[in-house]
Symmetry: C2
Subunit: 197 residues, 2 copies
């Protein structure tokens, strides 16, 4: 037994990681037991250890996978010389909205549960986040210098942008009122439009 099962539903490990992300989001990392996770996957708790090394490893993989995706997209935007600073900012916010809409479990775990990462992973994660914030600040500073963005506090604006999208968590519970596309446009107008000079 091996490759066929793997190709059918994605590897067993991926299934476990996906279930873990959902449980970690819903119940929190500390409150999610390996027996809960096993139950969701349809297996005994001990069997999980044929596929993963530890509960911590699951959290690490989720957090750094998400962090890398955010960083990779930022890199792309930074390298694109055709965009103005405000367009870069808009692209980044749109990406954040998309992530919160399409990958809620992983993104929320990364936001809310990363504090349970063991050292040195926690320190590394916090450092990567600090650098990410700094790079966003630089885009804003550049926009101000070039006269494309109003004079604002770059640090405050970055904090606001990164946190504002967390509201999408609540949108997921009541999707009926407003579509994802409408939500995205509305947020862009509210958060980015007002920064234009």
């Amino acid at each position: 037994m091996a490759k066929l099962t793997n190709r059918k539903n994605g590897s067993r490990k991926e299934m476990i990681s996906l279930a873990a992300a959902r449980l970690f989001r819903e119940k929190g990392f500390a409150s999610t037991g390996m027996r809960d996770l096993a139950g969701d996957v349809g297996v005994e708790a001990a069997s999980l250890y044929n596929h993963i090394r530890s509960k911590s490893e699951l959290l690490q993989e989720i957090c750094f996978r998400v962090a890398n995706d955010f960083t990779a997209q930022l890199q792309e935007v930074e390298n694109d010389n055709t965009m103005s600073s405000i367009e870069k900012l808009e692209a980044i916010v749109r990406f954040h909205v998309t992530m919160w809409v399409n990958r809620l479990d992983e993104v929320m775990v990364t936001n809310n549960e990363s504090k349970y990462l063991e050292e040195p992973y926690n320190a590394t994660f916090l450092n990567e986040r600090r650098i990410y914030v700094r790079r966003l600040e630089q885009i804003i500073e550049e926009g101000i210098t070039k006269g494309q963005i109003r004079k604002v506090q770059p640090y405050s604006v970055v904090l606001t942008l990164l946190s504002a999208v967390r509201g999408i968590e609540f949108w997921h519970r009541t999707k009926k009122n407003i579509s994802a596309a409408e939500l995205e446009e509305s947020m862009i107008i509210h958060l980015v439009e007002g920064l234009k000079k």
Copy 2:
């Protein structure tokens, strides 16, 4: 022994609640043990039960104290006929900023740990939040009707406003760059100014 000690440092129960709020924020509700809490208070775990009924009760009191403070302030704003809709919105956002700046522990516990409330408290809490959001939407709708606020999606704007202030969590770690007052003004400009018609 009784009243003198009570008057000296606030009642023992208040000390416990304060320590609990800090620990629940730092380590999360589930990861905070009664032995951790007792250690912080300077007492054995079992002794806590002379003052509190349960760990859950501590969380309930924190969450509903904060929820009531937010609701009370909203009520005041709603009753003030001298304010325009945009001024009401600004006052509410300023209050949220102040709460996040001055009462971080309690507010973060209320935001992040309320899911650990036992029933029926959890359901009650979520319902109160839903109503709070609805009342904010109504202020925005009224502002649009009266021509004081741009045509926006009220629901999206409320989600954005309520979540944006969560960024203040990160400001607390690096207060040196920008003062609380500057932060508040910057956020008001970013979040509220752009809504004016």
